[in-house]
Amino acid sequence: FFNKKKNKKAPMKDLKMEEESSGVEKLEPGTTFPPTFSVSEIKNKQRRHQMFMKLKQEKRKQKMQLKKKRRKEREALGDKAPPKEVPKTIENQRVFDETTVDPEDEEIAFDEGTDEFSAYFNGLTNPKVLITTSDRPRGRVVKFCEQLATVIPNAHVYYRRGLALKRIIPQCIARDFTYLIVINQDRQTPNGLVLCHLPDGPTAHFKVSSVRLQKELKRRGKAPTEHSPEVILNNFSTRLGHTIGRLFAALFPQNPQFVGRQVATFHNQRDFIFFRFHRYIFKNEKKVGIQELGPRFTLKLRSLQKGTFDSKYGEFEWVLKRHEMDACRRKFQL
C-alpha cells in the first residue's frame, strides 16, 4: 500500500516542483510524470511481482488501445488509408555495403571482362572439374563426392592417397582441368570445401554444413541425368559476392540443355549460400513445379585467396575475421 501511495504522491510533488522551478515552461494540468522509482527497487518479492504484473498489464492495455485506434483510423479512411507499414526484417535493415555492385557500373564490367573467369564467360574454355577429398575419406564423404559428380557435368572423382595439393595442381593444369574441389571431412561427414579455379584462379575455402545426400531427401525425384543444368545465382550483391557467384557459375557448362529441365541453385542469404538441385516443369506460364533431386548443402565462405591453393604464402583477398565481422548483426559480406 505504501508503495502505491508513494506512486501517486510522487507525480503530484513533481508537478508542483516543476511549476515552481521553471516559470518559463507552461505545463498542462494533468500530465503525469514518470515515477522516480522502478519496480525493481521493491525488496519484497511477492509485492515486486505484483507490481511488475500490473505494469505489464498497463503496457499491454495501452498497446491494445493504440492498435484499436489505428485500425479504426484505417477503416475510417478506407481507400485513402496510408499503406501498411513494412515490418522490419534483417534484410531490410541490412547495413548498406559500399561494395554493392551497381548493375551499370562500368568499372566492374571492365573488371569482369578481364578477370580469371573471362576465358570461361567468353566461351573459350569448358569446365572440367576434379573432385577429391582429404586423406582417407570415410562414410558420407565418399557418397557426397559421387553425388556431386553426378550433379556437376564433366566432373571426375579421384582418390586422394595422401598426395600434396601443390603437386596435384600442376598435374591437373596439364590435363586441362578447370576446377579442383577438395572436400574436407570431420568424423566421416564433409565439413569443408576448397574450390580452386585452376589455371591461376582464385581459391575459395568454405565451411560446409547441413549436408543431405540424395537418399535422405524427402519427395525426391529420380537421379539427375547427364544434361547440363541451368544455374541460378541469387543475392550475390557485393563485389565479393560477385566474385563468388562467378566462381560458381564457371563450374557449369555455358550452354545449359533445357531439355534436361534441371536447375542448380546457389542462393545467398545472410552470408550462407544454399545449394539445391531441382528438376522443374512448367505447368502453365504462371506455375512451375519443382522437385528436388541431388544433394543439398549450405556453404559459408571462410576465405578467398588469389592464385591457386597456397595457404602459407598466398595472397588472401578476404578472410573471415569473426570478431570484426560477426559483431554487427545487420552487416553481411556477400
Binding site: L233, F236, R246, Q254, P256, V263, H267, F282, E285, K287
Partner: protein, 326 residues
C-alpha cells in the same frame, strides 16, 4: 663404497625400485640415463658404477659417461661429450671415449646412437611434407552459426525464389521455342490498353517488344540469346479468324461462370494432363485467352475447354490456337 651387486640385489629383484615398470612379460627401466630401456643387471644405471649412455637434446647427441671415481660426487658424476653431427665421426668419437670399456656398453651406445640419428632424420623429412593442422572449434560459435543458418534458411524461402526465377526466365524468353505458352499477362495488359483496335497482328507484334523484358540483375548466368516472340506467333496467325459453328446444346449455363475464370490460368484438366505426360518435350495445349468483357456465347471456346479433359499428346502448330473474337 659402491657395491653394485648389493644394489642390484635390492632394487633388481627383492625390493622396490622407483624406476622399474613391470609388465606381464618384461620389466622396463624408466631412468633417463638407461641405455636400453630394459631393467637388467647390466643395463641398470644405478647398479653399474661404470656406465655410458647417449642422449639427445634438440637434435644434438651427447655421450654421457659415469665412472666409479666420481661416485662420491653426484653433481659431477655424469661426464657429457658432444658428438659430431657426422655419423661416422660420431661413431669414432664414441669408440675413442669408451676405449677399454666393456664391449656391452660400447655396442649398446652405438646402437642407441644409430637409432637416434634415424629418428632425427625422419623428423626432418616429415616437416617438409604436408602437415595436418588441427583447428579447434568453439562450441558457442558453432551453435550460433547453426542457429543463424536455420533462420537464414527460413528467410530465404528457397522454393519460392527458385520458382520465381524460373518463371521470370520463361517470360524473358530464355527458353525459346520449347514451351508454347502465350503470355497472359501481356495479353491482358495490352488488350486493356488498346480496347478498340484489336487486330491480332498488332497485338502479337507488340508482344515482340517484350514489355516486361526489364529484369532484375540478380542472376549472372549468360544464357542463349533471347528468342523473340514473333517466331512463335505466326503459326497462330493463320488460324485466327476461322469460325466454327457449334450447336447450342453445348453451351450450358454453368459454363458461363467459367469465363470469368478463364483469366486465371489454371484448370484442373490442364494439370492432369501435365502430370501424366512424359518427360520429353511436350507441347502444352494453348488456351484461348479472353478478356472479361467478351460475350460468352462463343460455343467453340466451350467445346475446346471440354476437350482438354482428355489426355492428349499434341504436336506443334496446333489448330487449337488463340481465338480472338474481334
Amino acid at each position: 663404497m659402491q657395491h653394485d651387486d648389493v644394489i642390484w640385489d635390492i632394487i633388481g629383484n627383492k625390493q622396490f625400485c622407483s624406476f622399474k615398470v613391470k609388465t606381464k612379460s618384461q620389466n622396463f627401466c624408466r631412468n633417463e640415463y638407461s641405455i636400453t630401456g630394459v631393467c637388467n643387471r647390466s643395463s641398470c644405471p644405478l647398479a653399474n658404477s661404470q656406465y655410458a649412455t647417449i642422449r639427445e637434446e634438440k637434435g644434438q647427441c651427447f655421450l654421457y659417461m659415469k665412472e666409479i671415481e666420481r661416485a662420491a660426487f653426484p653433481a659431477r658424476m655424469w661426464e657429457k661429450v658432444k658428438l659430431s653431427k657426422n655419423y661416422e665421426k660420431a661413431l669414432e668419437q664414441i669408440d675413442e671415449n669408451l676405449i677399454y670399456w666393456p664391449r656391452f656398453l660400447r655396442h649398446k651406445c652405438k646402437q642407441r646412437f644409430t637409432k637416434i640419428t634415424q629418428y632425427l632424420i625422419r623428423m626432418r623429412k616429415l616437416v617438409l611434407k604436408r602437415q595436418r593442422k588441427l583447428v579447434p572449434l568453439s562450441r558457442k560459435v558453432e551453435s550460433r552459426e547453426k542457429r543463424k543458418e536455420e533462420k537464414a534458411l527460413i528467410a530465404a524461402q528457397l522454393d519460392n525464389a527458385i520458382e520465381k526465377e524460373l518463371l521470370e526466365r520463361l517470360k524473358q524468353g530464355t527458353y525459346g521455342d520449347i514451351y508454347n505458352f502465350p503470355v497472359y499477362a501481356f495479353d491482358k495488359a495490352l488488350e486493356q490498353q488498346d480496347a478498340e483496335s484489336e487486330s491480332d497482328a498488332e497485338e502479337e507484334e507488340e508482344e515482340d517488344d517484350e514489355v516486361m523484358g526489364g529484369s532484375f540483375y540478380k542472376s549472372l548466368c549468360l544464357m542463349i540469346e533471347k528468342v523473340f516472340y514473333s517466331e512463335r506467333v505466326f503459326p497462330f496467325v493463320q488460324d485466327v479468324g476461322q469460325r466454327e459453328f457449334v450447336a447450342e446444346d453445348e453451351v450450358e449455363e454453368s459454363d458461363l461462370s467459367d469465363f470469368e475464370d478463364m483469366n486465371k490460368l489454371k484448370t484442373s484438366s490442364d494439370e492432369e494432363e501435365q502430370d501424366e505426360s512424359s518427360e520429353e518435350e511436350e507441347e502444352e495445349e494453348v488456351q484461348a485467352s479472353r478478356s472479361k468483357g467478351k460475350s460468352p456465347a462463343n460455343g467453340s471456346l466451350v467445346r475446346k475447354k471440354r476437350a482438354y479433359v482428355e489426355i492428349e499428346y499434341e504436336q506443334e502448330t496446333e489448330s487449337a490456337s488463340r481465338r480472338r473474337t474481334t
